[in-house]
Structures are given as C-alpha cells and as structure tokens.
Amino acid sequence: MPLLAEGVSYTYETGRASGVEAVRDVSVSVDVGDLVVVAGTTGSGKSTLLRLLAGLLVPGGGSITVDGIAPGAREARGAIAIVFQNPETQFFAETLRSDVAFGPRNLRRPDPEGDADRALAAVNLEPAVYGPRSPFGLSGGEARRGAIAGALAMGARYLLLDEPTAGLDAEGRRAVRAALAAERASSGVVVVTHDPAEFLDDASHVIALAGGGVAFSGGVDALYGDPSAYEGAGLALPPIVRVQLLARGRGMSLPEVTLDADAAARALLAARGGSR
C-alpha cells in the first residue's frame, strides 16, 4: 500500500474570512521504489503539500493515508521521514554519528549507532571517517548529506525532501542525487523543488504545481512529449532536454531524451547521419 493523497486541499488561516488556499485538489501516489518529483515556483504550494504528506498539517479537504492509516496517527510514527530545507542547520550533537543516530534513538530502535553508520554509508560519507567528526566542521555538501542521513537512519518507508540540493555545488548535487537513487531500493522518495533538472532522469512521476493546483502530472516521457503545461507553470526544462526536443520536432529520430551531455551529443550526431 502506498503513501496516498487524494484530492487534497489546504487553506492557511490569515485572520481574514477567506484565508489563503495553498493547495487545491492535489493527488499523489508514492510506492516503495518510486521517485516522485514535485516541481513548482515560489508560492506554488509545494512545501505545504510536503507538510501535508508528512502529517504535519491536516488537509482541509481530501484524504491522505500511509499504508492505509492517517500520517499523523501514532501507528504511522516512523513510517515517514522528512528532510526540511537547509537541514544542516539542525545539527546539535558533538559527533556526526551521534547526530544521525538521534532519530533511531527516539524511535527506540535496537542499534541506533549501526543505523547511523548504514545511513552515512548510503550518502557516501565513510562512517569510520565522518562518524567521529563534528557536524559543524563539514563542508556544505558533506553537511547536507549528513543531515539527509539523519532522516535515512530512521528507516522510514517514505522519504520526503524539501529542496535537497538548494545551495549545493555541482559535486554536492551529484552526491545527493546518487544517495536518493540508492535509497529508492528500500523506500518511496518524494522530492519537492523549484529546480528539478537533476532529478528528471530518475523520476518515476513528475507533478508540476501552479498556484496550489496541479498543472501537470505524469511520467517523464509524457512530460517530454508535451511540456507546454509544465512550462505554463513557470518551470523550465533543462536546456539539454530542450535541444533534444527541438531536434525531435524537426524530424530527427532520437531513441531517448537524456540529461547526459555526452550521450545526447552522440545521439544527435547519429541522428544527423554525419560522422562529425
């Protein structure tokens, strides 16, 4: 049974009679092995949707269930892990291992330190090297991955992340992307971001939000087939994808659209029929 949202709406109380409707009639389904990308510009309701899925907010309309139960319920505790924006600002412990073990300790898991080491390895931070280090002395990319490990260590079936790559350099982004790809083996992942470029290759489902409503919802192939609704939501496809779509539009046959620059170049050259 998946993490399931059906026709979910949420309105923030502002003191005025109407309030602000941040999310309107949104449906999502996340299974183990999925990577769902929720894209949208500032104020599109994507962070609110994430809080709804995590059970931190209760939807005003529609329903959310985690494997059949409400996400705020006690039995659902530990089923969902959430990584907020800039999670590295929440470090508090003396060593990274102890900080990452905070979640499993709270859940009374039998071996929190072991959970922590496995999570650190999953985000490609060698436990023997990084475990004993102070979390406050890490580089930006290391700190972000360490903080994500703090959520992974809880062994949740669903992992929700808010802008996991914001503010990271190219190397940090690659490392986060690889960590999430590996995590899909054991859980369902939801990534909320205003710049989904690096996740499009891996995504099993893409949802574009605009003004709280769903502008586009579908697979990556459907997105590349007709990106107009996605772009109407104020989002832009990566330039490398645009080039390949333009080529297709001009009748060149490309076997697949890819974010890999080398592969794209080879495919374009092959389609043109020239050696160079």
Binding site: I82, Q90, F92, F102, L107, F136, M154
Partner: protein
C-alpha cells in the same frame, strides 16, 4: 508547539497617534504614569480612563488588541483585589463572611482602586509600543539619552543594539519553531517523561538555535563592517525624526494636565 504572539506588538495603521514623534509619546507616557499615581480618588481614575479610551479610539488600534495585555495581568489583579479586601476574623462590619474570613467594603474599595490603576497603567503604556515602530522607538530613546553621551555613555551603540535585538525577536521565534518541527520529525518528543527529561529534550533545539544565532550575528557584523559601520557617532538618519508643532502642543497639553491632576485630583 507555537510561539505565542506577544502583546504590545506594533499595529501598522495610520492615525494621529501613530504620526506623533516617539519622544512626544515617551513624554506623554511619563506624564501619564506620574499623573496616575498622583490621582488618589475614583474621580481622578475615571478622568484617566476617559483619556485612555479616547486615545485608543483616536489611535485606531482595535480594542481587542489594546486590551490584550490586561488578560496577562489576571493573576496580579486577582491578588491585588484579594490582598486588599480579605480580612481575617474582622472586628468591623463585613460585606461577606466565610467563617473567619471576611470581605470588607473599605478594603474592597481600595482593592478595586489599585486594580483599576494597574489596568489603566497597562493599557496606557502599551499604546506606546502599539503605535510606534521599534525603530522609531529606539531612535527616540537615543535622542532622549543624548545628554548621557556627554558623560561617556555610548548612546548610539546602545540604540543600535536595541534596534537589532528587537529586529531579531520575530526571526528567532520563527527559527525556534522551524527547529522544533524538524526535530519532532526525527522523533523528538517535548511533552513526555520527567521534568528533567523534558528539559533535556530541548537540547537538540537550543544548540542549533544558538549556533544559527551566532552565525547570523557574525554575518550581520560582517555586512555592517562591509558598509563601513564605525559606531554611532555622527551618524545621520534616513528618516530623521522631527518634532512638529503638533508634538509640542500635545506635550504642552499633557504637561498642563499633569499639573492640574497634581493640584485638583
């Protein structure tokens, strides 16, 4: 967990009271407080009550907000009333008796008088922060403190520190809420176990909060340095506060009112 919004927070509406100079309002508050303690009869309090109600009306601050502070005083008010009106095995005639305890009319009258004075003081003084932005307030303070500069008091720096401190109260409250939610999401519980356990539960909140505060302070210091901040001396203001004839008139009226209170009420 929610950080409660405090009473006395600036209400951004346009009114003659808002338009007054912060120094004028501070002068009026000083005269008001002094007058309130000079007045020793219900007639005097009634006069002040009418004045406060009129100013609340003119300031266009919603009554609900203007009187919000009174609720926080509830315990103090009840204590004041009881302390003045309760008598143990009284000899005189009482209004009400519960065994050895009694409430006498004279005590009740005194209790009501003091309680009413506290309420007026609270509502009247809170109007200062309700109608003055923190920046105007600290600028006014700096100006009022200026004579202290001759004695070597760093008035500019004190005012700057106050401004920054006030500016960061809401930021810090938001930050605290953010960290609490994030740690809750990692299974932290703040409402379980013994008192000690609950206090310890806040360590994962307080450490990041302070780390981020220090980091932010460092950034702010660098940013101020980069903009050539060298202390308060000789600094000019973008919005220089000017005492208008209206300000002087208000001060004159209130000063006269204070003298009259001293003589007649």
């Amino acid at each position: 967990m929610r950080i409660p919004s405090t009473f006395g927070q600036y209400v951004p509406v346009d009114s003659p009271v808002h338009a007054l100079d912060a120094r004028t309002k501070m002068g009026v508050i000083a005269a008001f407080t002094l007058g309130l303690f000079l007045a020793d009869g219900f007639f005097g309090l009634a006069a002040f009550a009418v004045a406060v109600a009129a100013v609340v009306r003119v300031s266009r601050v919603p009554g609900r907000i203007a009187f919000r502070g009174v609720r926080a005083l509830g315990l103090i008010l009840i204590f004041t009333l009881l302390a003045h009106s309760l008598r143990w095995e009284p000899a005189t005639v009482m209004l009400v008796r519960f065994g050895p305890l009694g409430i006498d009319a004279e005590g009740l009258r005194t209790g009501v008088f003091f309680a009413a004075r506290i309420v007026l003081l609270m509502v009247g003084t809170s109007l200062l922060t309700l109608t003055t932005t923190p920046v105007q307030l600290t600028d006014g303070l700096e100006s009022v403190m200026r004579p202290g500069a001759a004695l070597g008091l760093p008035t500019g720096e004190i005012a700057m520190m106050l401004t920054i401190a006030l500016r960061f109260i809401p930021t810090t409250a938001q930050e605290a809420e953010r960290v609490i939610i994030a740690q809750s999401a990692r299974g932290a519980r703040f409402d379980e176990g013994s008192l000690l356990a609950r206090v310890r539960a806040y360590v994962p909140v307080l450490v990041p909060l302070f780390v981020n505060l220090f980091r932010r302070a460092e950034d702010l210091a660098t940013a101020m340095d980069a903009r050539c901040y060298r202390g308060g001396e000789g600094r000019t203001r973008l919005h220089a506060a000017v005492m208008t004839p209206g300000d002087w008139l208000v001060l004159l009226v209130c000063g006269t009112g204070l003298v009259m209170t001293g003589i007649w009420l």
